[in-house]
């Protein structure tokens, strides 16, 4: 588990070089974080094309506000926080405009191959039903491996709120898995 507030010297140096306009440093920062930003965007938006657009917007925003990054805090949660915010804005805009093209499920495999794939598909479907705050916390914790403290920094929420959201997210995912028969029934002892 990563230690909160552990600011990497490499990150600080990289940011300084980016601020000086070093093109190689810009490329390196993009290389370091683009997969994470894209992955999180796909999970939150459920659409790869949208996620590509959002990832580009996220990096434009990151470089425009790089001077405002607090060098006393780690860079990764800051980047993830901007990603979540951009996804939230994108979803709000998408909800306002009618989409002629139906969004397809691009992440999950269309055919169920085995039990593991079926379970993964159900979890993804459950994630889609979660509200954005719960989904963000769930993905950041379980898939991106961020500790509670960094998630709290990324979302700008108190630690207790993050823990509560994560608990509720798990409960809702499990509830769906139960409904879909993905969790075996446990035999209750007779009194």
């Amino acid at each position: 588990m990563r230690v909160a507030n552990n600011v990497s010297a490499d990150d600080a140096s990289l940011v300084r070089r980016c601020l000086r306009g070093d093109t190689a440093a810009i490329g390196q920062l993009v290389d370091d974080y683009h997969a994470e930003v894209f992955g999180l965007s796909v999970r939150l938006l459920h659409n790869r094309h949208d996620a590509e657009d959002v990832a580009q917007e996220v990096f434009l925003r990151i470089f425009r506000s790089l001077r405002r990054w607090d060098s006393q805090r780690p860079l990764r949660p800051w980047v993830m926080g901007i990603t979540v915010n951009r996804c939230r804005t994108w979803l709000a805009q998408r909800a306002r405009r009618p989409e002629p093209v139906e969004y397809v499920q691009e992440v999950a495999a269309p055919e169920v191959v085995d039990d593991g794939a079926e379970l993964a598909r159900e979890i993804q479907a459950a994630l889609r039903e979660l509200r954005l705050e719960y989904r963000s916390v769930f993905v950041l914790f379980h898939e991106r491996g961020l500790p509670y403290e960094e998630i709290a920094q990324a979302l700008g929420k108190p630690l207790g709120t993050v823990k509560t959201w994560l608990h509720r997210a798990r409960q809702e995912v499990l509830e769906r898995l139960r409904r879909r028969g993905m969790i075996p029934e446990v035999e209750h002892e007779m009194p």
Binding site: H34, G39, F59, L60, G116, A117, A120, I123, V186, E187
Partner: protein
């Protein structure tokens, strides 16, 4: 833990569900970014920086031009003020008995303040208007209109001050016009399209 789970069905159920969730999370497909995405993003970022830097330069030039205009305006205004022959520290305050009213012409009534000057100037303007009237209503035919007299020194200095202010304002308006021209050149052109 195993002992507790063996005796507690509720915990056993929660444990089984959590294990199943962890198992499912491990089998989630890994999301790979498109191979060209990083290069595309880096290109967009560099282009954005160039555009923003250019905009920043334009903004800087506009600000500098405005500052220079204001500075020039102040400089011109200052240079047009009547310069005293003595330095400020050499100026001695006048005593009350040293203040002399401007000398009036001998045939004019005593004028001691600016109100009299104003009356005189109003009278002068009236005289000019009367000049424009037809001959049959000439000034000399009108009763109660005295002859025009030359402006006294107080009115002369007031007139000179007015002229100075006018000249200063001309500089201000010219600078403001130049600044507006500069702004209008920098404004983006709106493509409003054509209406059917």
């Amino acid at each position: 833990l195993e002992q507790h789970l063996a005796g507690c069905s509720s915990c056993r159920e929660q444990y089984a569900a959590a294990t199943r969730l962890v198992q499912g999370l491990k089998s989630l497909p890994r999301i790979a970014a498109p191979p060209e995405l990083a290069r595309r993003i880096a290109g967009a970022v560099v282009r954005d920086r160039v555009v923003r830097r250019r905009r920043m330069k334009v903004r800087l030039y506009v600000t500098a031009a405005l500052a220079a205009s204001v500075f020039l305006m102040l400089l011109v205004s200052y240079s047009q003020q009547p310069s005293p022959n003595v330095l400020p520290h050499q100026v001695r305050p006048l005593a009350q008995n040293e203040v002399r009213p401007p000398e009036a012409p001998p045939d004019a009534p005593q004028r001691t303040n600016g109100a009299d000057s104003l009356v005189e100037r109003t009278r002068e303007q009236l005289h000019m208007l009367l000049d424009a009237l037809p001959a049959e209503v000439a000034v000399e035919n009108l009763p109660g209109v005295p002859e025009l007299e030359p402006l006294d020194p107080a009115a002369q200095s007031l007139k000179q001050a007015g002229l100075d202010v006018t000249a200063s304002l001309q500089t201000v308006t010219r600078s403001a016009r130049q600044a507006l021209d500069y702004f209008s050149r920098e404004l983006p052109v709106l493509d409003l399209g054509t209406r059917e």
